[in-house]
Symmetry: C2
Subunit: 249 residues, 2 copies
DNA sequence: CGCCCAGTTGAAGAATTTCAAACGATGTGG
DNA sequence: CCACATCGTTTGAAATTCTTCAACTGGGCG
């Protein structure tokens, strides 16, 4: 999708100092309310990683928890695996969103995270971040807000899985992604899904076949047009109506 | 279930100063790591409410968000209502747990909360709490941890709704409640469910009929015994095996 | 060119929902 | 004290939705 690397190995770590103010995501990312004076202390602990190709893990469940991550470009899925080896996708993370917040309560990572696409992240070592908080109330507030938002997102997902039919779930996910992309300055009606049908199905609690059929039905109703991962939302109003609830983000 | 009040009206507010150290839940509640010196500043902002009867709302979605709450006794459910008026139960909160964390990101409450039983709470005004954080790193850490735990809980629930059959969902909920009660010093194998079948079904993404049938099946398998809300877990091992994953809490 | 993977489509099967009825505990009024 | 209404729960049978199994398609890449 984006530029692909020749040599994955030397993409794994970057060491250039991050410059949040120049980042396109500054307005929506963690440091958005941090004063210019404090910003450099924050930037000092952040590790700007280079792009990593699709499919690479960012971390695995059980790894020692030491950092959270901000997505700079691309996309990431987080997922957990239960005793029988079943995966459950917990979330998709777009640029400007944090990954790994659920593991703060633990010494080890609770979820695994994998690149959906060529993706770059900023690594934020958590103990260092935590040490900054007492001195930086703005940052502390923002972190609390982002944690809270993560709860809201999970609960939104719950209300999807709890009572909605397949078509409504698919519509809701598409509307949600549409909103998030729009917020980042992209088209709200035409975009490429960063994740596979299998990930979508898993996220929505459906099989890939059901997802596929659902796309076909929505297409026949004239609500959207799909070609592989490329979707065009033709009737956002009715799509939202079908999703039938709380717009998120 | 517990003592019932004659006059609900004068139960709504208490003004006795809270004394966390003497509270049976001190070890598991928000202030557990706060130093004795800091504790009194925290206690000063907490409002100890008197018991409220079953069915009363604690807050409603859309209310101005101003406080989070710690359950002192009884139980609370939080839920959200979508555009069509469908409810989705987001969580059950037992003594020692916080309620309302999801709304921190918002000016208004995102969920509604209702007493499942005669319940008393400590109200913690959030702006005041937030003001204490810079001076009390321990408290800040604990709040962050609790927020993180809330994410883990929601994601646990997701993995239930995402891929589990009805019996597994019911078994998982029972094991989860069992664990939480045990942690609070109650019996892990014999307890009274604080919530109705309807709440259970809604929480698990099932109809009440399916929940009822599931209880009957689990009973026939000799895994438990149910009479109304009273359950006895007869074979916790196999119940966990059936639930088939990550123990939470 | 042909393999392979992701996605689509079809038909049969399984699980849950829906509709309907009955039960038991609780509470009210005669 | 009993008859009756109510609520939450249980049970049964039919309808629906989703899953499963299987075959097929089309684009990308060796």
């Amino acid at each position: 999708m984006s530029a692909v690397s020749r040599n994955p190995v030397d993409l794994l770590r970057g060491d250039k100092r991050v410059e949040c103010q120049n980042c396109a995501l500054f307005r929506i990312c963690l440091p958005k309310h941090v004063s210019a004076a404090d910003l450099s202390s924050l930037e000092a602990i952040i590790i700007k990683r280079k792009a990593t190709p699709r499919g690479q893990p960012l971390f695995k469940a059980g790894d020692k928890f030491s950092s959270i991550y901000a997505v700079r470009s691309g996309g990431i899925k987080t997922y957990r695996t239960d005793a029988e080896g079943n995966e459950q996708v917990c979330g998709f993370h777009l640029p400007g969103e944090l990954v790994g917040l659920e593991s703060i309560i633990s010494d080890t990572s609770i979820n695994s995270a994998k690149m959906l696409d060529t993706t770059s992240v900023c690594e934020i070592p958590f103990p260092e971040l935590e040490a900054l908080l007492p001195r930086m109330p703005q940052l502390q507030k923002e972190l609390t807000r982002l944690l809270s938002r993560e709860i809201v997102t999970s609960q939104w997902q719950l209300s999807l899985l709890g009572s909605k039919k397949a078509d409504a779930r698919v519509a809701a996910l598409l509307c949600n992604i549409s909103d998030r992309l729009e917020q980042r300055g992209y088209s709200a009606t035409r975009f490429s899904l960063p994740m596979s049908r299998s990930d979508i199905g898993n996220f929505l609690g459906l099989t890939i076949e059901t997802v596929s059929r659902s796309f076909t039905r929505l297409q026949r109703k004239g609500l959207l047009s799909v070609k592989g991962r490329m979707v065009t939302l033709l009737d956002l109003d009715n799509l939202r109506r079908l999703a039938g609830h709380t717009t998120l983000h």
